[in-house]
Structures are given as structure tokens and as C-alpha cells.
Amino acid sequence: MLTLSILLFPILAALLVLAVGGKQAKQLAFVGALVELALSGYAFLNFVPDATSQFSFDYPWIFAGSIRFSAGIDGVSLLLVVLTGLLTPLIILSAFRHNYERPAVFYSLILFMQAALMGVFTARDAFLFYLYFEAALIPIYFLAASWGGENRIAVTFKFFAYTIFGSLFMLVALVYLYFQTSPATGIHSSAITDLYNLKLSATEQTWIFWAFFIAFAIKMPVFPFHTWQPDTYVESPTPATMLLAGIMLKMGVYGVIRLLLPIVPEGVGMWGTTAIVLSVIGIVYGALIAIRQRDIKRLIAYSSFSHVGLMAAGVFSQTSYGIQGALVQMLAHGINVVGMFFVADIIASRTNTRLLDQMGGITRYTPKLTVFFMILLLGSVALPLTNGFVGEFLLLAGVFEYNNVLGGVAGLTIIFGAVYMLRLFQKAMFGKTTDLTTGFNDVSGTESWVFIPLCFMVFWIGLVPNSFLKLTEPAVTNLLQFIK
């Protein structure tokens, strides 16, 4: 029942926000998101660390119950549910400083988005997963295209069409798999665990691997499917960018872990190296572009592209380290990237510029912002004792276990990451003050309440990673049995 309330509550809250509307919209949305956080926190605290699906429910839905509305939380879902629960109230809180037009619609879309994301991470039926996977696109598309920057219409449409196009192939693959289950009786099943046990030929595995891979690679995005990403991140309003980078790209990584690896293990055996090579190219390519960026939002967008490449590489290594690392890194990256985008938003709205060469010397006026920025930045560059370190270390260990050379190249991410992040910090915060940065106001009370939980999480995951790893480990071990 808990999962059901996690799925339904945000929808309820969104409808309430729409109905009440007006000035109270944002407070109401924030309270709704806090309740959802409490629900996911309850799941986190009461989760028994084993491989089973917990708090689950299951109703017959379509085709006389062969497609079921079933959802639950297991070790793989848990951290993402927590991440979604944690980030949504913070994203709403971070939007308080702007006065968006039609606030009721704006905040209810964020809550609808949260409902869809929770659905993706808890679905235990393949079609339910697909449904939520697609449904998540609609609120984010309207958020980005209604409240975004100048070039928003073309950019967000590219994003929308690109991702839907990718997932259509996944739909075909899922329908195909559905008809392969229990052919003798003619009663099919689309439960994800039933799909794990299918016996597929090598050709089938290849086709289905690519159908899934394209869908998830566009979502993450993996090189060369990333062209929608930087523009969309830049043109979207910051809360939408946070949702996209903080949570939504994890749908891709999660999909690979949940569906692709266990359903087509042989396909991964044949094509996994290709996938890792593409991911590693993305790591280096994204980092190199990030180093050259002048626009801070664009810089963070490329850094996110580079980071997700490492997660993809780790997952495709099919090792316990790689998958565990990806799960923790998804949590860590979500926290860091939301924090970074918030810093960028604060700087951009106070200086009216996003260009690095027009900034400088902000630290002179802002002790608090400097500290928060530094903590999040250290998390991003994977300094030991921060959250980024745990994830990246495990991911790199996984890739090394798969192949030394690829591991070595992927390891460059740590060096490059430090280069572009420290360059960002140095150019924006240090140096001479410019006209635009003079008299910069330090973070306000509301703004620090976004940073404080984020910074707390940076240290919590960094110092006691085991409180998260021990929850995911049994599920990952169980999953690896299907991958063999």
C-alpha cells in the first residue's frame, strides 16, 4: 500500500494545487512534496535489505489480468525513490525566488512529473514501466516549453520528439517479449521478472538489445544520442533543468539495470563493449567540451553528460561494483547537479549573465554561497569523503574489472572533472569583481534551506556510504544471477 500512496499522492497534490491555485500554489506544492518525502523516507527506514520487492501491490489491469498494475520497491528502486522524494521539495523550494506566470500550473506540473518518475522507479510490470516512462515526458515538455528561454519551442520539441522516437522501439521490443512468454498456454505475462526467464535466440537478443539501448541511450544520454541535451538544459527554466538532470536522466540508467541487462544478457555479451566504448567516448567528449564552455548552465549540462557516461559504462560492465556504483552515483549525481544548477541560477539571476568571463570576485560578498558551492563542487569532482567519490570509485572499479584500457580512459573523468569544475569556481568566485558582480547578495534564508539538505547528503553518502550500499547489495547480487 505504501507504494500505491507514493504513486497517487503527488497526483492528488497536483490536482489540489490546480484547484486552489493563486498565490498559495507554491506553498501548497511544497507541503505536498514534503509529505511525499515523508512517505519515501518511511520506505527508506523500513526497507529490509534483501532481494525482494517490498511494500508492493498488484491489481489485474488489462487483458484479463495478464497485464497488471503492479509496483513495489526493491533494492534497485529504493535509492531512486528516495532521490525523487528528496529532490522534488528542494526543486520546488528553489523555484520560490522566481515569480513564474500561472504558478498553479507550473507547480502542479512538477508534482505530476514526480508521480510519473516514482512510477518508473517502482513499476514491476513492463508495460506499466513503459507507460510511466512516456508519461514523464509530458509534464517536463510543457514545463520546459512554456516557461523556458527564447529558443524554447524548437529545442524542447527536438527533445520531445527524439525521446519518444527512441522509446517507440522499446515498446515494440516489449510487445514482442510479451508474446514470447508462455507460448504454450497463450496466456501471456508482462511482469518484468517473467521476462527475465525468457529463452531468446542470439538474433532476438541482438535486436532487443538495440531497441532497448536506443531508448535508454537517448534518455541518459549516451554519445552520439546526446544532441538534444545541452540545448534543452540551457533553454529550460531551472526547476525543469533540475528535474531533467537530477532525476529524469536516471530513468535511462535505471532502465538498463532493470530491463536491458537481465532480459538480454547474451545481447549485452555481444554488444556490451560497443555500449561501453560509446559511453567512454561520451565521458571524454563531454568533459572536453565542458572545459571550453563560457556559459555556466551549458558547462554544467556537459558535465552532466560526461558523468552519466561513466554511469552507463559502469552498468554495462555487468559487475557488482559497476551496478552498485551506478546506483549510489545516481543518488549522488542527482544531489550535486541540482545543487550546481541552483548555484548557476542564483548567479545568473543576480548578475543577469550566464557568461563566465563577465563574472568574478563573487566570493568577496558571499561567504555562505562560497561554502555551499565549494561543498557541492567537491562532491562533483569526487573528492574522497564526499558522495561523488563513493560512486565514481565503484564505477571505475567496475569498468576496470571489465577492461583495463577502457577503465583507464574512463578514469580521465576524475582529472577532467576537476579541471572544468575548478575553472568554473575560479572564474566565477575569485578574481576581480566586475560591474555585474559588485554588491552581489549572499544567499537568503529560503535559498540556504535548499543548500543545507543537499550539503548534508554530500557528506552523509561520502562518510557512511554503507548505509546506502547495504540496502542495494542483495538486490544487485540477485540481479547478477540473471546476467550470469
Binding site: 512554456s146 515498446l171 510487445v175
Partner: protein, 463 residues
């Protein structure tokens, strides 16, 4: 059968009511008649009767298709509140013709004898020729009616020729007899039969506007008054596909190997032509015409992959498509009427610019309908496509499936142009006035689309 009798009688009654000339009486009367016919249809549920000397078979699937037709007709008529503001117009005649045309549609859905199919097709088509030209002073409406009539008559001729050939081969017009003849021929039926099958198929494919028999569609859809375009693209299409389903699944199921390749090629062509051309249109109405061609393509996928899944898939798809299409035309009707360009109703995309600011409800209704037509999850259209795709996978038709999937990606492009225009572009600031009942019908269509998107199994135990 009761529905056919009732509707015919009601049609005549309406003609006599014509002296009232008042829409306040005629509109509710027509709606009531349609509802009565709908209710009467369900009296024969689960009974499977043969009527008129075994020429008409009322089965459950036929009743479902009939209901879709009647629901579509009900919605279209409800939207007719102020069509043809012409003082001299004779609303009673148009309503009567609509009722007669539904009789034709029901005969096409539940025929057991090819003669009945022909009579049904003719009743429906002739009514449509008249309604297409009903905007008498509009040159385009006249052109459309003439074009539709000439080409339609030609197609009917080919179909009739095909029926004659079938009779020549099998010695009977009855579907079960033709099936029996094929079974007795030990896999070598006469050449006449094959020719007949092809010609009847061509005639029917013309009626449902499948490529390459689609050339009349855009001009006729654009020229006809929007209200009747909505009627044509839903009722005619549903009836046409029900007739094809009956023909292929009853009479010709044994020679599946012969016609499926033909149908598969036509399906591929229809999908390509419909979707690719729709993407290049500037007029919303013309886009909807090509979109109706593309949906004929998806429905044809379900026919080409004829199997256990097909009936259910076709019924569901027809319902989802009809509801969404009528909602879309309903919005177009009010928007184009109140936002004119050069004194004429503006049915280009730009007419919808900024609609969400002044009329959030109308914008939402049209957006849901576009999402449904594009097959986005949580709408009825998604499950329609899902079932059609399932039928294709079940038959192993992977290539058609891949084409259909690629084309539905193209579909997203042109359906979203309207959504983008309504939500993200600036436009006229005049609010569009909508009558309460009109609004109610549109909301009902939207609710049905969303409910079917969430619980597609709602009517499932009926099939």
C-alpha cells in the same frame, strides 16, 4: 435490426418535422432518436439473429461497431448547434439525411449478404455526397461534392463488378456460401474469385481512403462543411472497416495467403502517404484529412494481421480514433468560425495560436485529442495502437510494424504543431464563445479518451 427500422422511421418523421424549421426542436429530437436507436441495439445483445432472409446478421461485434457509429453521430449532431447560419437552410433535411446515412452504416456493419453490403455502401455514400455539397454557395463545397460523387461512383462500380465475379465463382452472395465454396475447391478456387476479391477490396479501400485510392480525401474533407467532415472521417471509416473485417474474416479467411500481401503493400503505402503528406500541411483541416488516411493505415495493419487480436483491436481503435477526431473537429469548428482570415473561416495552424491563454479548456480538449491521435500513453489512442501492434507481432509482421512505429513518430511532429501553437505561441486575445451543451459534449469526449487511456479494459469483456 431494430436500430435500422427505428432510424429509418425517425428519418421520415424528421422530414415531416421540417415545417418547424426551428433548431430548438429538431436538434433535441435528432439526438433523442439516436439515443433510442443506441438503446434498441443492445436489446439484441448475445442473441445473434439473422434478418431479411438471412441477409443481415446481428452479432455482438456488429452491435459494438454500431454503437461506435451511433456515439460518433450523437457527438457530431450535438456539435451542429449553429452550423450553416443560412436562414434559408433546411436543417430538418440534413438531420434526416444523417439518420439515413447511419442506416447505411449499420447495414455495412452487419451484412451477411454482399447485396446488403452494396445497398449499405450506396445509402451511406449518396448521403455523404449530398452533405459534402450542403454549403451550397461555397464553390469549394460544390467542387468537393462533385469530385466525391464522380470518384465514389466509379469505385462503387468496381466493387459491384467484383461482387458479380464472386457470384459467378461461388454461385451465391452470402458470405458463408462463399466461404463454403472456397473450402470445397480444395485450395484451387476459380480465377473469377480472386479477381472478385481484389475488386471488392479496391471498392472498399476507396471508401476508407487507403492509398493509392485516397486522392479524393484531402479535397473532399477540406471542401465539406467541418461538421460533415467530422462525420465522414469517423462514421464512414468505422463502417468501412467493420465491413472489411466481416468480409475478410468470414468469407475470405481461407485464402488469407492470397490477399494479405496485397493488403500489406497497401497498408505500407497508406502509412507512408498519410503521415508524410500530413507533415507538410499548413491547414489544420487538411492535416486532419491526411491524418485520417494515416489512421486508415494503422487500422489496415490490424486487418492485414487478421487473427484473434484483430476484432478487439479494430473496435477499440475505431472508438479511440472517432472520439478524438470529433473533439478535434469540434474545436476547429468554433475556432475557425470565430477567428477568420479574409472573411473566411481560418482553418490553418495559426488560427490556434495562443488559444490556451483565453480558452484553457478548449486548448486542453484539443491537446488531449492530439495526444490520443498521436498515440501518447495515458490516452485511448495509445492502447489502440498498442492492440494493433500486438496483433501484428502475433502474426510476426515485423516489417510493417517497424514502418508503423516510424510513421507514428512522424505523426507526433504534425499533431504537436497544434499543441505548440496553442500553448507556446502568442496569438489573438479574443475569447472564443462556446455554448454550454457544445462544451459538455467536448468534455465528455475528453473524459472518455482519458478514462480509456487509464482503464482500456473498460469495455473489454464485451468483445
Amino acid at each position: 435490426m431494430l436500430s435500422i427500422v427505428l432510424l429509418s422511421v425517425f428519418g421520415i418523421v424528421l422530414l415531416y418535422l421540417g415545417f418547424l424549421k426551428s433548431r430548438a426542436v429538431l436538434l433535441p429530437a435528432t439526438l433523442l432518436f439516436i439515443l433510442l436507436a443506441l438503446g434498441a441495439g443492445f436489446l439484441e445483445w448475445n442473441k445473434s439473429y439473422l434478418y431479411f432472409g438471412d441477409m443481415l446478421l446481428i452479432s455482438n461485434v456488429a452491435i459494438l461497431f454500431t454503437s461506435i457509429v451511433l456515439v460518433s453521430a450523437f457527438m457530431v449532431v450535438s456539435l451542429s448547434g449553429d452550423f450553416l447560419d443560412d436562414e434559408a437552410a433546411q436543417p430538418a433535411e440534413y438531420y434526416a439525411i444523417l439518420l439515413f446515412s447511419i442506416v447505411g452504416a449499420i447495414m455495412m456493419i452487419s451484412y451477411e449478404n454482399l447485396i446488403m453490403l452494396f445497398v449499405g455502401v450506396e445509402i451511406l455514400s449518396v448521403s455523404m455526397y449530398i452533405l459534402t455539397g450542403s454549403d451550397k454557395r461555397n464553390l469549394r463545397s460544390n467542387e468537393a461534392a462533385l469530385k466525391y460523387f464522380l470518384m465514389g461512383a466509379f469505385a462503387t462500380g468496381i466493387m459491384l463488378f467484383g461482387m458479380a465475379l464472386l457470384y459467378g465463382a461461388a454461385g451465391s452472395f452470402t458470405l458463408t456460401d462463399i466461404k463454403g465454396y472456397i473450402a470445397l475447391s480444395h485450395g484451387r478456387p476459380s480465377l473469377l474469385l480472386y479477381l472478385g476479391v481484389l475488386m471488392v477490396l479496391i471498392g472498399m479501400l476507396f471508401k476508407v481512403s487507403a492509398a493509392p485510392f485516397h486522392f479524393w480525401t484531402p479535397d473532399v474533407y477540406e471542401g465539406a462543411p467541418t461538421l460533415f467532415t467530422a462525420f465522414m472521417s469517423t462514421v464512414v471509416k468505422t463502417a468501412g472497416f467493420a465491413a472489411l473485417l466481416q468480409l475478410l474474416s468470414v468469407a475470405f479467411s481461407a485464402i488469407y495467403g492470397f490477399w494479405w500481401i496485397t493488403l500489406a503493400v497497401i497498408t505500407g503505402l497508406t502509412l507512408l502517404v498519410g503521415n508524410l503528406t500530413a507533415a507538410y500541411q499548413d491547414s489544420f483541416k487538411r492535416m486532419m484529412a491526411y491524418s485520417s488516411i494515416s489512421h486508415a493505415g494503422y487500422l489496415l495493419v490490424g486487418l492485414a494481421a487478421l487473427g484473434q487480436q484483430s476484432k478487439q483491436a479494430l473496435v477499440f481503435y475505431s472508438l479511440a480514433y472517432s472520439v478524438a477526431t470529433i473533439a478535434a473537429f469540434g474545436i476547429l469548428l468554433v475556432v475557425s468560425k470565430q477567428r477568420t482570415a479574409d472573411g473566411r473561416p481560418d482553418d490553418t495552424y495559426t488560427a490556434f495560436n495562443g488559444l490556451s491563454r483565453q480558452n484553457p479548456l478548449l486548448a486542453f480538449i484539443l491537446a488531449v485529442s492530439m495526444l490520443s491521435l498521436a498515440g501518447i500513453p495515458l490516452t485511448a489512442g495509445f492502447w489502440g495502437k498498442f492492440m494493433i501492434f500486438s496483433a501484428a507481432v502475433d502474426k510476426g509482421m515485423v516489417w510493417i510494424l517497424v514502418l508503423a512505429v516510424l510513421m507514428s513518430a512522424v505523426g507526433i511532429y504534425y499533431y504537436f504543431r497544434v499543441v505548440i501553437a496553442m500553448y507556446f505561441r502568442e496569438g489573438s486575445s479574443t475569447q472564443i464563445q462556446v455554448a454550454p451543451f457544445y462544451r459538455f459534449v467536448l468534455i465528455a469526449a475528453t473524459v472518455l479518451t482519458i478514462v480509456l487511456g487509464l482503464i482500456p479494459g473498460l469495455f473489454q469483456n464485451l468483445i
